[in-house]
């Protein structure tokens, strides 16, 4: 999952070296927290959160069967 998020985000931003994906496991879900370089924030969120929504749709689709719910937190 982490690799998937990194792959997607790397191709969107100008400073791929600043991408950080932190994983935190909670009772009912796994939370991935994404941070990028200040200048790239707009590139992962987009107008009205359109890019953020697209990233989430693809990432949530990749959820392995039977696992906990996943949640992607951006910035």
């Amino acid at each position: 999952m982490k690799a998937l998020i990194e792959t997607i985000v790397t191709s969107l931003v100008d400073h791929p070296e600043d991408i950080v994906v932190a994983e935190r496991e909670e009772e009912s879900k796994i939370v991935y927290h994404l941070t990028v370089n200040q200048e790239d924030v707009g590139k992962v969120i987009g107008k009205n959160g359109r890019i953020a929504k697209a990233i989430r749709t693809v990432v949530y689709a990749a959820k392995p069967d039977g696992n906990k719910r996943i949640y992607l937190d951006i910035m």
């Binding site: 690799a3 998937l4 792959t7 997607i8 191709s11 969107l12 590139k43 009205n48 359109r50 890019i51 929504k53 697209a54 990233i55 749709t57 693809v58 689709a61 990749a62």
Partner: protein, 205 residues
């Protein structure tokens, strides 16, 4: 090797040497002159060699194919991609065993992925490309479904003599419906609402 610095007596020689080492041609690289060098006295005293940095230009379409491969691989899907370029429109047709995962309900995953591919492709590209991402002929099947839905909904609007609103769809799917109904005499179609909830309304005349 994607990038290297080369030197020569002149800038031209340095570039030639770099192209030979990279095994490529001039139109496929970006050249940055670091030092133009100096001829020096009689070409011997005080001469300085010329240095250039030569970088192979990324082909944005190949990069986008790699991106699709990588993303799919991370979802445990091994896709084969057939790419067609027509002017500024690029179509990537994906084929794989468990492609359903990449399509999602009513193509929502495919549409989100298509949008990401569009962004990735246009990020480093000088030219603007529009992108269609297709999976096992899904777009074609969806077009047929939408056209038959359009026909049914138009009949319904005429029968009830009332406006009929369809569910929200992305722009390229709305276009299919508008085109399917444009020659229909008894109704007119328009889109209403703001993205991402923009939807078609069929109005009887």
């Amino acid at each position: 090797m994607r990038e290297l610095t080369a030197s020569g007596q002149t800038v031209e020689e340095a570039v030639q040497s770099a192209l030979e080492q990279l095994n490529t041609t001039r139109d496929r690289v970006e050249i940055e002159v670091i030092d133009e060098g100096k001829k020096g006295l009689l070409g011997v005293f005080g001469s300085k060699r010329a240095y250039v940095k030569v970088k192979i230009k990324k082909n944005p379409i190949e990069a986008a194919e790699n991106f699709i491969h990588e993303v799919a691989k991370n979802m445990n899907i091994d896709v084969e991609i057939a790419t067609t370029v027509e002017g500024n429109h690029v179509t990537f047709e994906m084929n794989a065993e468990n492609i359903a995962l990449l399509i999602g309900k009513r193509g929502q995953t495919l549409n989100a992925f298509q949008y990401l591919v569009h962004l990735a492709l246009n990020r480093d590209s000088d030219e603007y490309y529009s992108v269609t991402l297709d999976a096992e002929g899904y777009r074609g099947r969806r077009k047929e479904t939408l056209e038959s839905l359009a026909g049914k909904m138009a009949d319904k609007a005429v029968r009830l003599n009332k406006k009929v609103a369809l569910e929200p769809m992305p722009a390229f799917e709305r276009k299919i419906i508008h085109s399917a109904l444009q020659d229909h005499e008894n109704i007119t179609t328009y889109s209403d609402g703001a993205e991402p909830h923009r939807h078609i309304v069929i109005k009887p005349n």
